[in-house]
Symmetry: C2
Subunit: 150 residues, 2 copies
DNA sequence: CTCGCTTTGTTGAGAGTTCAAGTAAGCTGG
DNA sequence: CCAGCTTACTTGAACTCTCAACAAAGCGAG
């Protein structure tokens, strides 16, 4: 009944798992070491910095980050404690919280970005050819749900 | 100074990040839900099941799983509590612990495997063409350190 | 042989994630 | 209008992971 993986598929699967774990761990370690934040927090700062007025609704932020609301809520509490973000109630819909990037948060992002980009290059871009990168993007896009409406 | 990512690279990077996170989270959730174990534990059971006599030295297991020794030690404690593995001291080198898969652990692996494989197919293999899979394997292999001796 | 370095593994504290439960506000059909 | 469903978000507990510190055993040069 079960469609087991053959040898070829096993190797593909294990290579994918090892590679994606390796890249994520390298990035997380670099950010934690050099900027004192996990990659999840960095991603929050990036998203907020790109939003109009550097503010987003919590649920919208969660959706864009593919994060659970719970995770985001816990994380935002930490960002607030560090002074990197703050929350404000929304007058129009009182269930909503606005997540707002502070100047300190933007500064932390600015400080962290160069090291992070360098780590991304070392972990990914410097190891692949332009052709491989183009193919990788196609493949990853195919894996994402929006590109794959069943 | 910083080699920033251009638009193309940004999209590649974010697609890779989103795709690899998605796949890992889907698998972790499926295993946790259907078999009550995180993927890291499943991987330990798999490695042990493939080893001669279903036993490995802790450090060897850590290396093969790309895991820290600390993580493995904590995880092994949990597996022991569940009766899925046990540890035995090594007479030849008394620093070494053997990690041994129990029959209960092997049974747990056997029970979990079909659902896990199905999840892997849904998350990865069913979404890509054979050509894409071949390319993905090449790319992931290029990202791994052993294939990239600087 | 022994001092110092390396290897192997464990432990505890701190931090992040998950899951389930809970609160509060908006929405909707009768 | 109001009972019940849905949406937005928070909270606490349990669990996993990381990091640093530690202990103990092997190893190796002097």
């Amino acid at each position: 009944m079960t469609r087991w993986l053959d040898d070829e598929e096993q190797r593909t699967w294990r290579a994918f798992l090892a590679a994606s774990q390796l890249v994520q761990e390298e990035l997380d370690r670099q950010l934690q070491r050099d900027s004192g934040m996990p990659h999840a927090y960095y991603a929050m700062l990036v998203k907020l910095s790109e939003a109009p007025d550097r503010m987003m609704r919590m649920s919208e932020l969660a959706t864009e980050l593919n994060s659970s609301q719970s995770r985001l809520s816990h994380a935002m509490k930490r960002l607030e404690e560090r002074g990197w973000a703050r929350r404000e109630p929304c007058a129009a819909d009182r269930r909503v919280s606005w997540a707002i990037l502070t100047d300190e948060g933007f500064a932390a992002l600015t400080a962290a970005a160069p090291g992070h980009v360098e780590a991304v290059r070392q972990a990914l871009f410097d190891r692949l050819t332009p052709t491989q990168l183009r193919r990788l993007r196609e493949i990853c896009t195919a894996l994402l749900p929006t590109s794959n409406p069943s």
